[in-house]
């Protein structure tokens, strides 16, 4: 099933649009390599708790991401998490906090920056602290993925139209093939969620059902598991 088509009734793209994109050479599938990693973007309480102003209801996407992580852990696929956490000394000067001052609640030490416990992050899964939208910007994430000799990055997290989108673009730019299991990315609003899935599927990543990602991971030999310090 073509994921772009599947969204045809929601993402606002017309049949003419789809024809344009096809003619321009977008939307082709990316290779799935033998050494994937799972990147979980900003599933912290500041985004996953609906009682918080910047949060929303993400129970289903968290459960789907837990399924992804559980199979990955079984197969030895490395996982890495991100959270936004500002140094209080940065709050007054960062341009992002002029535009989106709601983000300023995400300060170091706040309970809002902790990774959602439903994902059961393990001690051998690094936590990348970031102060921008992308998991890669101003962080050592690309170097960590290169050090693990990763070829394919599976991106889950929140929000689809914000930090997930920015991280997917950077993962692709950083030299990796990117998969987005649509069940594992969440947003606070439907229209931006759908529109960004469309953009990502056309230009940067394969936006596919979780089951397709699980089948790919399930097909990996145990030996495909990257280990620290291997080479």
């Amino acid at each position: 099933m073509d994921p772009g088509i599947a969204d045809a009734d929601r993402d606002g793209a017309t049949d003419d649009d789809r024809g344009l994109y096809r003619a321009a050479g977008f939307g082709r599938p990316v290779p799935r390599g033998p050494r994937p990693a799972i990147l979980v973007v900003d599933f912290s309480r500041g985004f996953t708790d609906p009682a918080v102003p910047t949060g929303a209801e993400m129970t289903d996407e968290l459960a789907a991401t837990r399924r992804l992580l559980d199979l990955g852990r079984e197969k030895g696929v490395p996982a890495v998490f991100t959270t936004i956490a500002f140094d209080p000394a940065q709050l007054a000067s960062l341009p992002w906090l002029h535009k989106a001052p709601g983000m300023a609640a995400l300060v170091q030490g706040s309970p809002l920056v902790a990774v959602d416990q439903r994902l059961a992050r393990r001690r051998d899964e690094p936590l990348i602290v970031k102060t921008g939208a992308s998991a890669f910007f101003g962080t050592p994430l690309a170097a960590q993925l290169a050090a693990w000799r990763i070829d394919t990055v599976i991106v889950a997290g929140a929000t689809t139209s914000g930090c997930v989108r920015a991280s997917v673009v950077d993962a692709m730019q950083s030299g990796f093939n990117v998969l987005v299991p649509r069940d594992c990315v969440a947003d606070r609003a439907a229209a931006p969620h759908d529109a960004n899935l469309f953009d990502m599927q056309q230009k940067y990543a394969d936006v596919i059902p979780l089951d397709e990602v699980l089948a790919y991971l399930g097909g990996l030999p145990a030996a495909a598991a990257p280990e620290g310090g291997r080479t």
Copy 2:
């Protein structure tokens, strides 16, 4: 006029969505500083020529950008252009070209990578060659803006839902306040264009009419013009 509201009939966001974003602390205006620069993203023939598969009709947006550049030049505001141009030796390996093989036509030396002549790029306006979506990724653009002591980046170019969006996110992350004159950004399809203007206005930049940007530039003293080698 609130630009988000102005698009309410086109970007798919509902009134409930707008309420959510307001409550989450998004969509505030960014400061306009005394040292702006103009960033023109990918207005090269590969995008501006409708006869090319990856191109589209962008006559109006080019004319609006020319107005922006002309006033900027008068005021001594530096401008920088980008173009996508791949080294032929990269074509087989880059993940972006798996997903979007249409981009592979943009090879070094092709007429498709030249900046559109209607913008009359001057010899003192650097051309940044890039191989990703963002004007900042894998380029010295952030360093150039820092060397010019820029505080505010005005982004024009194509496409709104692709390289403009990625460049706007990175400009904000790189420490700059960002303005997007909506008349100066173009796309090949309306729905992604509108959806990305909504995202950018809410989270990363002020998406405003060109006239508002021209008024800001017009109000700059001549002395605000950055000059090479000043400090």
Copy 3:
């Protein structure tokens, strides 16, 4: 006094070498701008405590850096500190820890990663956590400096031949003029210290006495002090 000449008896460079560098167009002075920042690299206990295997005696350099910071604080010059602190989940995979396993003691939460108390870091002075040699690599430091609208970076810290050298190169590459007060940088061994001062003075920064830096800061008007959120 030319700082290169001052070191002539220690850095191993001959008069012929100096002639070569002069002819090649190296070693010119850099401008000092109106908006400096102070960057303090890795003055953490892992480096400043001589009882620690990776540490050395740095009492004098810490005292000199305290003088630099005190005047900067008086003048409103922003300061930013760095420390190396690895996530335990990274230890097995990072190439640096293959080459220099002694660095692996610098894990998050260890007393070794705390900034030396003799510098009295204030709450409004950001701490950048890094996992490489350069203060800029995989960190948001360049963005922070751009957000502060900095033009000149004054680099203190340890070690001269390691993280200071790497940070000085990146500060210059990131668009800033760089000053190194020689009294404020420390190393565990004299020969690499001297050799790296020579390289930096010739190619990347002005290596000068602290008194010259203090005179520059002392000459700044109070209004030159960058403030968060100014533009």
Copy 4:
């Protein structure tokens, strides 16, 4: 043979220094992986032509690098070259050109920026254009190496104390194990050359004889050759 020891009479380090570095956990060997790449830094006429002010006699190092490239090509090991080439519009503003104005001769289109013909660069070997010291700064090199799924970077080029040193530090920081064949790196002066080999061997890379690198490449199976688009 330990390369640090081999240089003991030239790099200025004393026996006490060597003891300090050993105790601090430096100077261990890095792994050699199955997917190396060769990075040739700035062997352009601006550096390899002794008649040019920034150049020096590098005939032997070029010949050694040619041997390295020839075996790599036979084995399918990818090679990538760098050159410094400034856009004329950047010359007035870049801090590096304040400090080292001799570099400003390296403008786009000048014969000085062409890769030395003795290395016979092939069309399938990318040329990375840079405007800083490091091959990685402001370039897509790290992404290219990740796209090739590289684990080990072999660095040749000029100058040892400048762009080679900066590139070696960044290659390590970017997640790669680094080898420096000492016969393949050149400088205009002996003391900085030796001092930087010492630093690199202690902290960032294995500085080893070319023969040792050739033996490593010779032992690779033909299948180890990365190919574009493989994954």
